[in-house]
């Protein structure tokens, strides 16, 4: 692309247009899962410099012919083996010196998975994969702590307003008190059981099943499911 061509397109710069086409784009995913009362985030340990040995968010560069959401979905699927993951773009970070390889602008995504489902596997550039409780995230590579914080802020807001995202971390059939536990853990505060139940059951996307818990040594809890069709109508 010559400068003349660029001008025909409506640009008029003092530096050649090519200079602008030097960026790389990456996606970094904050993958949340719920396991035994705790919400955790999947991190990978970097196997090479920069930040060798540091934990980082899983991510990758976006291919030149790849859509942004597509790239995020690729990372998620490769890492977890799951399709159909809830995923949302949260914020874009692009400090000039955030990456040592060159100018890399990264899109932070938040993803929620049913943790028990996914077969953990280390990737090519990761030595190790681990799950960390969201309240005990270590120092991460690059600006990943900031990306994590933004995503957590969003997750908290969603749970506080009872918008139907937390369910993406639960199994298809779940009890209301499991979900209460998840919410309490993320928000880091106790909630009233009775009021929480009422609030949830008032939402019409949550539907009771005829089934109950098995093998518990107390009164078995009723199981519920999410009706995704009703969710889509709301938005």
């Amino acid at each position: 692309m010559t400068r003349k061509a660029a001008e025909d397109y409506g640009y008029d710069y003092n530096i050649p247009l090519d200079e602008f086409f030097q960026f790389a784009i990456s996606v970094d995913c904050v993958i949340y899962g719920y396991h035994e009362g705790k919400v955790k985030v999947m991190l990978i340990k970097r196997g090479a410099d920069p930040y060798k040995g540091k934990w980082a968010l899983p991510g990758d560069l976006v291919y030149p012919k790849e859509a942004l959401d597509e790239a995020a979905r690729r990372v998620l699927t490769e890492l977890t083996g799951l399709e159909e993951i809830y995923m949302k773009q949260v914020h874009t970070f692009g400090a000039v010196d955030r990456h040592t390889l060159g100018r890399v602008v990264t899109l932070g995504y938040m993803a929620l998975i049913e943790m028990y489902k996914h077969p953990l596997k280390a990737d090519g550039w990761a030595e190790e994969v681990g799950w960390f409780e969201i309240h005990e995230i270590p120092d991460l590579a690059f600006d990943h702590n900031e990306i994590f914080s933004e995503s957590l802020k969003f997750l908290k807001q969603s749970l506080e307003s009872h918008s139907p995202v937390g369910f993406e971390m639960m199994p298809k059939k779940f009890t209301l008190l499991d979900y209460l536990e998840l919410t309490e853990y993320v928000l880091n505060k106790r909630l009233d059981k009775a009021n929480f139940r009422k609030k949830l059951l008032a939402q019409d996307f949550i539907e009771p099943l005829e089934e109950v818990q098995k093998n518990v040594k107390h009164r078995p809890a009723k199981l519920y499911k999410i009706n995704k069709k009703k969710i889509e109508l709301e938005t």
Copy 2:
């Protein structure tokens, strides 16, 4: 950057790393202003192809050594002559074919200005600058209608929850009913005057002045101002 060097950094791709550094980044700003009861958005008319003659959001390519917010602020300042503009990154768009010049990923920003302050000026690549009522936005160039919609969604949410952003479009001293009018226009519905007052005055960042309106042929309204310090404490 050679492939070997890239591998040292922890990347291992089948295509050379350079291939990834082909993107350009741009920022597109949805600039809102309030004038005579109506909220409007600033658009520029494109002077060249593609989309010659179409209205578009003001924006620009990000320079290789420039931070993202910095680029957005540059666009805003160049266009309006104002410093200190409220500005917020909203969403990033990057469909593969969204731009004819090459792969350009764009960050949508929302900005709010005190409209009466700014001296309108057409830019190099714009034939014309115009303000359009937010409920009558024409077909825009690129994916700019989508960027606009995202920003409007955010603005509506902010106003509904009475978070202190709409004030950025008002003069330093304003009446509560002016602000009511602004809110009604954006949300496109009538609100109860009395309840709106109570709600607003309950927020502690809004403070009454000793001053009142002048030259009106009815009971003059009290003027209020925003205490920015209190806003920062909240967030």
